[in-house]
Symmetry: C2
């Protein structure tokens, strides 16, 4: 997966930003700095003031790119979902059977990201950690409905829909494909979070990726 994305760019809907952060140096520094700071401090402790100091800019300048830190989180999440969908499509396109495709997709949905370096201003490993620990907060906030109307969750829905179609190819009768996939995605994130912070809520097995193994089993048992 190293060199395949060397000249593609992930586009994020323009309703999420005031000015496209991928269109300028400062914008890219805002993205890069946000990823590092949110990862380091957590979303609650992350502020535009701290970000501005980190990237040697000013609060006012950051506000010229993003309306609020919530929008930054949405931007980062959506970038991640688009990137993940791209990787899934790229990876499974030539696989022979729908089963193989689904298995591979579930792997990509649930595995730990440990590659970086395809995008200068985005550390994919840290971004994955942010999505694991912070992205749910966007859905769980009270303004989820207005954000949703503004299209804030489209990439996520697209991803879920794409895997849903794979499932329905295998078993057109299965009644809960969306539920299954969103359970797998969010469940895998939570389990990774629990593995680090609340191990008694999960089952960590030495030398094996229990999260991916578990959810792969769940998916195939569920749809049969």
């Amino acid at each position: 997966m190293e060199s395949l994305v060397s000249n593609i760019q992930i586009q994020v809907q323009d309703s999420l930003f005031v000015k496209d952060p991928q269109s300028s140096d400062l914008g890219k520094k805002i993205i890069k700095g946000s990823i590092e700071l949110i990862c380091e401090l957590g979303f609650e402790q992350f502020t535009f003031k701290k970000l501005a100091v980190k990237i040697s800019s000013t609060e006012a300048s950051v506000y010229r790119y993003f309306e609020s830190k919530n929008m930054v989180l949405l931007y980062l999440s959506n970038w991640y979902w688009s990137w993940l969908e791209y990787r899934i499509v790229f990876t499974i396109t030539n696989l022979p059977s729908a089963e193989d495709q689904l298995l591979k997709a579930v792997h990509l949905l649930t595995e730990q990201v440990n590659e970086d370096g395809n995008f200068e201003h985005i550390n994919e490993i840290k971004l994955h950690q942010i999505v694991v620990s912070e992205s749910l907060k966007s859905y769980l906030s009270k303004d989820v409905d207005s954000k949703n109307e503004g299209g804030a969750f489209v990439p996520y829905k697209n991803l879920v829909e794409r895997i849903t179609q794979l499932i329905l190819q295998i078993n057109p009768q299965f009644k809960y494909p969306h539920m299954l996939i969103s359970t797998v995605i969010e469940g895998a994130h939570l389990q990774r979070h629990f593995a680090t912070h609340l191990p008694r809520l999960t089952d960590i097995i030495e030398g094996e990726d229990a999260v991916t193994e578990f959810y792969s089993q769940i998916v195939f048992k569920a749809i049969q």
Copy 2:
């Protein structure tokens, strides 16, 4: 389930409050008001100032009971988990088989709460909604480790452990019981949240509790 709890009280660990809110009228008003306000405004918009106005008290008085609004959320979550574990134990104790017990437990873990009235100061329906939409934020905050050391997640872990033991009774070889149960609990909450706000991420079926149905199937297929 109506009258069985008429004179029991759910105890919450005293590390979560400064002064036990169940020990005074003001304390109970704080709990009652918090449940209503968090439900209405969402956790982010909920403040001690607004709460104080609502219950005709003062900010300073609220702080005499709780260190912060995060502690209130933890208190409410833990009250809920203890209450739920109590209901599960009470309900399944006399069921003949471990399978019946597990099935019933999964129902209680995943169903919508629609009874109220066992506790004067706690609206169980609204509390359930809070747990669905807000409780994850306690695990997902950066201070999860220090909270965990202080025992903030003990009731939740106990609940997961209890159902884990049920699963292991049925299949002692099953490798991922904790993962399965925490996936079911949090998954069910998320699906209920999605059903209201992001329906394209779930599968709502007219006249049927798809959430409970889905997770019951998942559990029994997974452990076989």
